[in-house]
């Protein structure tokens, strides 16, 4: 039975080892290997080889297939001195990885040679605890959570749809949330608008939302816009920089305005709408599917649009549709999964039925088509004349 030294020597003789000079050349080459740091978390947080991903030695075998599904992808492993990574290289070869090397001398030699290092951004202890259920998901992890904390999502409306979206995006740690709403909290809102409460009656919804969110998660910066989205202010609001827009507006003029703006600014737009027991959601991602105008080139004439007074909505319905919007927004921020692009999800709460229809980009779309005919913002007349519309 070999002792540790003998086993290490044997393993090293069976794997491909490279020294720091060779590693540096490999990383500068065209067939650049993926660099995997197999050290423990505390070592990783004190510095790493730029571009490396972190999979501790103890979970390498269980996590490598998720991180590197392609067995032909070249991999360069390193640890502190080159011993753990030698064993790791042997393991990956046994798992079928075809081109694995281990950095002899490890990070210690790399750093001593004056080669570049970087301090990885990590979650501090409090954030690691707060977001632990995200960090545990391989598709999110610490990197994903850092991405969320860097993400900026603009919500149109702090009403029925905006309430659950804002709450879940804030809880998820989306770093900056903009809220456009020019309405005040009314008693008739509280049946469904869970951002607000009885004590907030009469307050601006955007301000009420800011207070609720800050109480839920102080990591989130809330930018309230107490104004209605118009052709006059849309450019100024978008200039604040948003990665994703969540449309929870309650009127056609705002929906067309934000659609056109999202196309022109290349920002994905998460659409949701609700009526009585039924709701819809989809994602309009410029360049990667249809926009709202592909679906409905123009709003219905005022006399055919349902009046707000006839409307009504089951209180929980925006909770479901708005949460779907939040889920889509988080996926877009993280760059994971299959967003609802080119698919309109229909939900019927009375029947408890989800269905889907296919949406296609219209080459003759007046905004995102091949020869656009609308190139400036259009302020449509508000249809719901009985009361002002808000967004």
């Amino acid at each position: 039975m070999p002792n540790y030294r003998e086993l290490l020597q044997q393993i090293k003789s069976e794997i491909d080892e490279v020294d720091v000079t060779q590693a540096r050349d490999l990383l500068a080459s065209g067939g650049r290997p993926l660099v995997v740091d197999v050290r423990e978390l505390d070592e990783w947080t004190e510095g790493r080889i730029p571009g490396a991903i972190h999979i501790p030695r103890g979970s390498l075998e269980s996590r490598i297939e998720q991180a590197v599904p392609d067995r032909a992808q070249p991999i360069l492993l390193y640890c502190a001195a080159g011993n753990r990574s030698a064993f790791a290289a042997k393991s990956l070869e046994e798992l079928g990885y075809e081109s694995v090397s281990s950095l002899a001398g490890g990070y210690t030699d790399w750093k001593r040679s004056g080669l570049p290092t970087e301090l990885p951004r990590t979650l501090d202890a409090a954030k690691r605890q707060r977001y632990s259920r995200h960090v545990l998901i391989p598709e999110v992890g610490e990197e994903g959570q850092l991405k969320l904390l860097d993400s900026r999502v603009l919500l149109l409306g702090a009403g029925g749809l905006g309430s659950p979206s804002a709450l879940y995006l804030a809880a998820a740690g989306v770093g900056r949330i903009g809220i456009v709403d020019d309405d005040r909290v009314d008693a008739s809102n509280l049946q469904r608008q869970v951002l607000h409460s009885t004590g907030r009656l009469g307050e601006w919804k955007a301000e009420s939302a800011k207070r609720t969110i800050e109480e839920l998660n102080p990591d989130v910066e809330v930018v309230p816009y107490i104004e209605r989205l118009t052709s006059e202010n849309v450019e100024r609001i978008l200039a604040d920089g948003w990665d994703v827009i969540v449309d929870g507006a309650d009127n056609f003029p705002t929906r067309y305005l934000i659609n056109d703006a999202a196309v022109w600014h290349d920002i994905p737009l998460v659409h949701g709408s609700i009526y009585r027991f039924e709701g819809q959601a989809t994602v309009f991602k410029p360049g990667d599917g249809p926009c709202y105008r592909c679906l409905f080139p123009q709003p219905p004439p005022p006399e055919l649009a349902p009046s707000c007074a006839e409307g009504g909505v089951l209180g929980v319905l925006p909770g479901i549709v708005g949460s779907l919007q939040a889920s889509e927004a988080l996926k877009l921020c993280l760059g994971i999964g299959e967003p609802l692009v080119g698919r309109l999800l229909l939900f019927d709460a009375l029947e408890t039925e989800f269905s889907e229809v296919t949406l296609r980009r219209d080459p003759s779309c007046p905004v995102c088509g091949d020869s656009p005919t609308i190139t400036e913002y259009v302020d449509y007349v508000e249809f719901c004349s009985g009361r002002p519309a808000h967004a």
Partner: protein
């Protein structure tokens, strides 16, 4: 016969039904059959002898505009969804 799903905004035009049967071998025939029985649906669905730009008609989940429009043939037993633009979010 096909089944036409009526969106909540248009149910008052068909006596409150969520779904109504309609006959026709094409989308045009099917909508005509529907609108003959419920005339107040016509301005909500049709404009200039075509499907109105503020409504979509889906046959088995596909927008008929991406098929043959009103001339799209409809198999017996198909499901058609009428989908007008819906703005509510409040």
């Amino acid at each position: 016969m096909s089944r036409v799903r009526i969106p909540p905004q248009l149910r008052s035009e068909v006596g409150g039904a969520r779904e109504v049967p309609a006959h026709g071998g094409t989308v045009r025939e099917l909508l005509d059959d529907l609108m003959d029985r419920f005339p107040s649906l016509r301005p909500q669905l049709v404009e200039d002898d075509d499907i109105a730009p503020f409504v979509n008609v889906y046959l088995e989940g596909e927008d008929v505009r991406t098929l043959d429009g009103l001339d799209t043939s409809v198999d017996h037993g198909s499901t058609v969804i009428l989908l007008p633009a819906m703005a509510g979010g409040l």
